[in-house]
Subunit: 235 residues, 2 copies
């Protein structure tokens, strides 16, 4: 951040940063808890994640309102303006991560009857650990504003996609083995896809941080889609 004459403006930027960090912490927690609830069929924990989503929604709205007021009042230029627009974008990505955590939590009740097979549970846990690590790292980078690190996180989404693809394959196999697995495995497919999308949002945030730091978009195509879309019926 550059030096300002108005210290009140610094306070406003700090407020935005603090709220974003809080949202990030809550998003991480919601993702972790939703997967724990799923794996342990813990309906109470799932319910907690569902209620926490209201906090996220309100936080996004408050960040949005504050951002607009700050732009209108301070009329910031260049880096300061990017700072505020970036906060808006990151808040929106974090709110979506919260939604995805909530969506997974809602599926806990649906799979409770059968429980989640141990092997699939481990796959989901592994996938969510990767997504949470990515989210955690990107939030650390938000504090340091390293364009270099932001770019390296963005370029690393492929690991999550690879795990997601192998989990997708395994879920299809379970379904084919026994039709009684179909409903549970369908919910787990959506859970896995939700976690893969959490990784996408972490990648979005990394791109936003890069933009905040440099004023540019990172170079090079970014793999935004998973590879399971190409799975033919012969698989």
């Amino acid at each position: 951040m550059t030096a300002h004459i108005y210290t009140a403006f610094d306070e406003e930027l700090k407020y935005l940063m603090r709220r974003i960090s809080e949202m990030g912490g809550l998003a991480e927690q919601m993702v972790g808890e939703s997967v724990r609830a799923l794996v342990n069929s813990d309906a109470a924990l799932a319910q907690k994640v569902i209620s926490d989503d209201v906090i996220m929604d309100n936080a996004e709205r408050e960040v949005g309102d504050k951002a607009i007021v700050t732009i209108a009042k301070r009329q910031p230029m260049a880096a300061d303006l990017r700072e505020i627009i970036g906060a808006l974008r990151i808040a929106s990505d974090l709110e979506r991560v919260g939604d995805l955590g909530k969506n997974n939590a809602k599926r806990v009740m649906a799979v409770q009857g059968t429980g989640v097979p141990r092997k699939l549970a481990r796959g989901i846990e592994h996938l969510s650990e990767l997504a949470m690590t990515q989210l955690k790292e990107v939030l650390d980078v938000y504090t340091t504003r390293s364009a270099e690190k932001a770019k390296s996180i963005r370029d690393r989404d492929e690991e999550i996609d690879a795990i997601y693809t192998s989990l997708f394959r395994e879920l299809l196999t379970y379904m084919m083995e026994d039709p009684r697995n179909i409903t549970t495995c369908t919910h787990l497919l959506f859970c896995a896809k939700n976690i893969e999308r959490i990784g996408d949002h972490a990648t979005n945030i990394a791109e936003t941080i890069y933009y905040m730091a440099t004023g540019a978009q990172p170079e090079g195509e970014r793999p935004k889609d998973d590879t399971t879309t190409a799975f033919g019926v012969a698989d």
Copy 2:
């Protein structure tokens, strides 16, 4: 829009509106074509949708860049600032709609081997017609800026959710009847979910237009999640 001293500013706002309308038209087209490609196993049309996504990505970036430059240069207040922030948000929703169309197009090749059963194809078409109507209407409201109409579109997402839920149920039934349907039906499940999400983005846009017109968020909870998350194994 209020009257400005700078007609150059009006030009900039008009540029943003025009680009948003173009993006909206392309998004609609991509959604329609991806479903047509899916239902007719038309790989060439699917490929066209996939390439069109690059145009959407570039358009979103250009709207973003223009929005930032306009804020920095003109330092707009109140309604004008909301106009620009709103354009940013709508461009982001439309870009996501394009992604979802592309994702559906990518699945065309995967289901080509078996084709899509007629009854399921009709379900997907019906769902996509509703989503496209919602998208079309919301883009019309973007031109007229009627807060009233924006709110009524936002409150109407439930029809899409109902159709999605019945399609979800039907897809599960097909899978259970014959394990050879599982891979195709899994892709169709994701296609249906993608279309349901397109409806969500139309709803987001309606909320943004309401905000642009009034400076406030529409009152009342909005049903953001589909109801299939609660489908137990007994279904």
